[in-house]
């Protein structure tokens, strides 16, 4: 089966001065029916990648195929096959919610009756029927995002692009949106999701690509990526005097794979933690042990391991 989306050696430079390289050879392949997460910090090139894939940004090099169609050569045909939810609320302020859906369908060649029926069906499915006559400015961020998703899938696209869909949403709206995205896969939709929330990428995606400085660093299932950390347990140790001697001592403890410095302490990566914590505490007390946190590896750990920075840097 043809991959839903193929991105090959994608480059984008914005002429300066100063010249900015937003994408520096991005490669991705998204299978049909998959939810694919593009995870990276702000400015990594996620939105630019989505921009090129959705015909709104012209690449400086490389190519993008949506279901085998080149986005540069056949933008109109590609636009039939994709749905796009942008980071910003771009709902038509002059039109009601129902009209936003209705006219979107008309742009895609639906007849008046088909467009009306589709708009009503979506309002019902997204639990927006009682707000059909509301104008977008009266909506909360979470609701506006729900309408944007309804609008993006209204013409029954094959590939849906969600660019930072939960940025700026409150936790409750974020959860609701995650449920919604998970539901979309039942429609057989392929989803490309960009996010800088590692939890979002982890929970929603079948596969994740981690992107930084316009390059894909690694691609895999969230489970596989976390296993590359090489540890089942991550112990963060806060110290008053984080001296090098402790790291050397900790590395000798059974089960410890790696000890890395972090601001104000050390990060210990270990396999299994039986008995480890007590020996670790004992060793750390002379260095002014302040606090200790035990966690499983996350995509954030993977990112830190690959770049030496965390996602919020």
């Amino acid at each position: 089966m043809l991959p839903a989306l193929v991105v090959e050696r994608l480059a984008k430079r914005y002429p300066g001065p100063p010249e900015v390289t937003a994408l520096d050879g991005v490669d991705l392949e998204v299978e049909a029916g998959e939810i694919f997460g593009l995870l990276g910090p702000n400015g990594a090139g996620k939105t630019t990648t989505v921009g090129v894939c959705t015909t709104r940004v012209l690449a400086s090099g490389g190519r993008v195929l949506v279901e085998g169609l080149d986005v540069h050569a056949e933008p109109a045909a590609v636009k039939r096959r994709i749905g796009v939810v942008t980071q910003q609320n771009t709902l038509d302020r002059s039109c009601t919610l129902r009209e936003n859906l209705y006219y979107h369908c008309r742009f895609f060649g639906f007849s008046a009756a088909e467009a009306g029926a589709r708009a009503d069906e979506l309002l019902d499915r997204f639990r927006l029927t009682d707000r059909a006559g509301t104008f977008p400015l009266a909506l909360s961020g979470g609701l506006a995002q729900r309408v944007q998703i309804a609008r993006a899938i209204a013409h029954r696209p094959r590939v849906l692009f969600l660019d930072e869909p939960t940025a700026g949403l409150d936790p409750q709206s974020r959860l609701a949106l995650w449920e919604l995205v998970a539901e979309l896969r039942k429609d057989g939709l392929t989803v490309l999701l960009t996010t800088h929330y590692m939890e979002e990428a982890d929970r929603l995606s079948d596969r994740v690509a981690i992107i930084d400085h316009g390059k894909v660093l690694v691609t895999g299932t969230p489970g596989d990526l976390k296993r590359t950390v090489g540890a089942g347990t991550i112990i963060q140790v806060q110290l008053e005097r984080p001296e090098a001697g402790l790291a050397t001592r900790l590395r000798e403890l059974p089960g410890v794979r790696e000890v890395d410095p972090m601001p104000g302490g050390l990060v210990v990566m270990a396999q299994g933690r039986e008995g480890l914590v007590s020996s670790l505490v004992e060793a750390a007390i002379p260095y002014g042990l302040k606090d200790l946190a035990i966690a499983e590896p996350t995509l954030e750990t993977v990112f830190i391991k690959l770049t030496g920075r965390d996602l919020r840097d």
């Binding site: 709104r56 771009t90 008309r106 742009f107």
Partner: protein, 270 residues
Amino acid sequence: MTEPGRLRAYSAAVWGMMLRDLQVLRRNLLPFVTRTVMNPLLFVFIFAYVMPKIGQGVQTGSAGITYATVIVPGLVAVGMVFQGISAVALPLSMELGATREIEDRVLAPLPVELVAIEKLLFGGLQGILGGVVVFPLVYLVPAAEVTVRVASWPLLVAVILLASLTSGALGLALGTIVRPQQIGLMFAVVVVPITFLGCVYYPWAMMHPVRWLQILVLANPLVYMSEGLRAALTPDLPHMPVWAFLGALSTATLLLGAVGVRAFVRRTIS
């Protein structure tokens, strides 16, 4: 998709956008009418009703023709161009700016150039509506007699169509180039001079004594709309030859349209 299929899809999308714009216009009918009639209504009221009544009427220089007649074509032309600008430039400047409402249309299955052309066409349509709303006012309000006579219907239709397209193209060019925060400035720098120097209140030929200005205003598209409507509605007044205003309006539409479409593409695809 095959060529006819593609054309059908594109025209369906453009039609959908027209319907959307019409719906928004319908919703804003009252502001639309108010915006359109205010300026011409006050103008004819003062210059064609009050001034003649208090013995301050403007002389026309043509025997038997009232000033009220002279300004009819010009004010209709202003109504059209003003609508072209407010229908296209103002909303487009917003949609391309902070709100990015244009995105959903940019993502519709047609080349973005056609999204820009739809705006131009809708601006033209609203321009025609603007002219239609203004005409009865300038015809009925004056105290003096207004003599309007359609010499040639095909000429009138051609002038109205070309003038409306020029208005839409001007609106598109301004809306894509002017940033939302400069809209107020645009009115002062573009709209006001265009109106005052658009041969609205006097025929172009009568400007002969101020020769330099007569030549300078030829850069103003409104001049050709006013002169064209003058030729079509008040043929007894001096007016430019038909080839001159039809040619100039076609050129202006093409030039402004090209500038507007290019700027639109630049603003939507980076």
